[in-house]
Symmetry: C2
Subunit: 461 residues, 2 copies
């Protein structure tokens, strides 16, 4: 950066005592001593820790402005970095100049020194990243995003942008938002020929089908894009807008896909522990005392692989009473998945080969004619974190499946073309970014791990 | 990857002759010799060049299947990598086994060996990445995206996801898509209280305002997100859905912003030249014979900085006849920008300090009371590629500007709060990804540098 200001993380951990430096940031607390000097804890978001500023009455402007440098105010401070006599930090900054950049009125500033509830902080999403918790989430989220790109780039995957506005519906089922410029839309079955795109358009629920196009042309690819669900779900696990990562790989079968998913999850965990140690320690101390144990468990175990049929047998043999009864051919519910991964195995699990009747049309049909090559990755405390499959690449089987699922083959002309011309076995999966952040931080509500959550009746900021 | 297959780029450039290898990919061409063997050019998208496969009649399956291994078919080939007697490539693969994975009927496969027009290829966007040009674009686009992340991550910026669905309008002006789940929407002024978000929601035109929230909390950030314009523009430069990169930096003024923008553009150019040499040579040879010269010019010059006022003086003194007349206080048009950067200076240019009357409310007002700290980066052959500004961080000035622009201050309560509590000088800019790819590849139509373009009347695939 062109500006001479140093980030506080550099000042705290890198720069030698004795250096003349400039720090800029926001006041977390100020304590005035009776002997004509003040201590300020300054934070700039570069790390969890604050820089301690020592400023005495001889510094120009002290008398006039120090009282305005309260919690939330912004400062620029010049001075000498000195070894700190306290044991709390390596260094502190002895100010020779300070500039009050912006005040924050102590009576009206919404972030007081006390602890605020996450519910309250959601209402001030424009200020919550100034708190320890949300600063840490921003840094961990950034680390996860960087790791996602690095992981796939190092393996030669191309990052591909699949469309956000779409006229097709990946799952053949998802509840979708309509995108329109009509002053008044017709009823949903109505005539959209006058609309912007000349037909009914929606926000995508997945980039998978388009990612398959690129996988069947240029090799391994991944998407990393916003994705949408218009479900009226008010839970701690659902967002109307979330970010999804979808790798798609040609010449790849279900076992390869499982291997990739396991490496991927483990890499995300390892990088957070390595690169966000201070923030992770905070989560372990303040948010979830089990988070380190949970993450170590993921790193230290090979993901167990069991078929859906085995999973159902275990659930039936468990003797547990389920809210949703278990039988072969029905979906596993969260209670079943959590029992399997948390109680029975106590480790991450990949369940594969699900009944075809409960899975989408595009999954590869096994020879048993009952199951498809689907896989779900389940982890303790979060449940399902990844869903994927080997894709059906045989034209005739896919055409039959479309009919079986009541879908119109003409709508899928280009998807079928991929099987008509140079078809190859291929596989992929999807990871919801925010579910991964829940896993990594121990946070309980998905609205707190995305900067500006969109949920029913809420698109503020 | 778990699969034993090698990427063709590795086979061509890395792996030693004499190795036993497996290659998988799609047939570009096949030539059968009369002496009982065939040459196949195989491509897998890992690089522009094909791997030459030599396969003779003794290989199992040759007699039955070789005729089916035509253009577009997919193959898996095992054999020995041998030094190539020809000078065209270092190595070739002598097949000992081959598996035809998927046929491609020669009469109906839409990608024949001849050259197809870009217009035609747009209609088969599901197959065009199998061509040399679109494979190269996919690789260059990936390189640019990776470089964008690396550039900001190396400088300590956090990647932030700003919302896609929004109830605010960044520019106070943009034409926006409505997002709804109502079966029938009311007219635009109507009652949206029953809609999914409880009020009228749209697709974002910029993440800037929300990025400012994070910049004023955790330090330098950048967005990299899809962005939308519901303009009925059918040009070679406009998309309804495109990807934008928006860095936002606290304690940053306009000069710092210019410096960052210049470093950013130069880094994108340098990385493409370094890391996509084969693809860039192709663009220079087949798409735009001036592209290398254009890019060298960008790398070799410091970006010239002139004020809007100086630019207007130069345009008035030029003696040129303009389609749009030039006068102080009106927007520079593409013809003016191109004359300045291409003809007059012959190098990249940053024009700054624009009249406040033609710029949005959030830009910092200069002391002259006539101009704001805006900047546009102009480059030869593309024109404006970056637009940015120092943001108005003074609460009282910003409030006046909202009134001046006819905007409702209540709608911007949280944006004003950033100035009310610990306000800091900050700046940022926006780069349209697809405009950058046009610059880097010499491609002429923006629909050809995004995988699945969305434009009026078109959201296919």
């Amino acid at each position: 950066m062109a500006r001479p200001s140093h980030r506080i993380a550099s000042l705290l951990y890198e720069i030698d005592p004795g250096s003349q430096v400039v720090a800029s940031g926001w006041v977390r607390t100020r304590r005035d001593s009776k002997n004509g000097f003040s201590f300020i804890e300054l934070n700039d978001g570069s790390c969890m820790s604050n820089l301690q500023i020592v400023i005495d009455a001889s510094v120009p402007g002290y008398e006039e402005h120090i009282k305005e440098a309260g919690t939330g105010a912004s400062l620029e401070v010049r001075g000498e970095l000195k070894e700190s006599p306290g044991s709390k930090q390596r260094v502190e900054l002895h100010a020779s100049e300070f500039t009050l950049l912006g005040k924050a009125d102590g009576d009206t500033y919404p972030l007081q020194k006390k602890r605020h509830s996450f519910e309250y902080l959601r209402e001030i999403a424009h200020l919550r990243p100034r708190t320890n918790t949300f600063g840490a989430i921003a840094r961990v989220r950034n680390c996860v995003c960087r790791t996602i790109h690095d992981f796939f780039q190092e393996r030669g995957f191309l990052y591909v942008h699949t469309p956000i506005i779409t006229t097709s519906d990946c799952e053949g089922a998802g509840e979708m938002f309509t995108v329109t410029t009509l002053d008044q839309t017709p009823s949903s079955a109505g005539d959209y020929s006058e609309d912007f795109f000349g037909k009914k358009a929606s926000l995508t629920v997945s980039g998978q089908l388009e990612a398959e196009i690129y996988a069947c042309s240029v090799g391994p690819v991944y998407t990393f894009s916003p994705t949408f669900r218009a479900e009226n779900s008010n839970t701690t696990r659902h967002l109307s807008e979330f970010w999804m990562i979808e790798p798609e790989v040609p010449f790849f079968e279900l076992d390869d896909n499982m291997q990739l998913a396991e490496e991927f999850i483990k890499t995300l965990v390892q990088k957070c522990l390595d690169e966000c140690a201070e923030d992770m320690a905070f989560f372990n101390q303040r948010i979830d005392k089990e988070i380190m144990t949970t993450l170590r468990n993921i790193l230290d175990n090979e993901f167990r692989r069991i078929s859906y049929t085995e999973a159902v047998d275990l659930l039936l043999a468990s003797g547990k009473k389920w809210e949703y009864p278990v039988s072969w051919g029905t979906n596993l519910q969260a209670e079943h998945e959590r029992w399997l991964t948390e109680e029975h195995f106590g480790q991450p699990l990949i369940v594969y080969d699900y009944p075809r009747t409960i899975k989408p049309f595009y999954m590869y049909c096994n020879e048993d004619e009952k199951t498809v090559r689907a896989m779900d990755v389940l982890v303790p405390r979060v449940g399902e974190i990844i869903g994927g499959s080997q894709r059906e690449h045989r034209l005739d089987v896919l055409e039959k499946r479309l009919v079986e699922c009541g879908l119109d083959a003409e709508e899928y002309w280009w998807y079928l073309d991929l099987r008509r011309f140079g078809s190859v076995p291929h596989s992929g999966f999807g990871l919801g970014l925010e579910r991964a952040i829940l896993l990594l931080t121990g946070m309980q509500n998905i609205r707190d791990v995305i900067p500006f959550p969109r949920t029913p009746k809420n698109a503020e900021f």
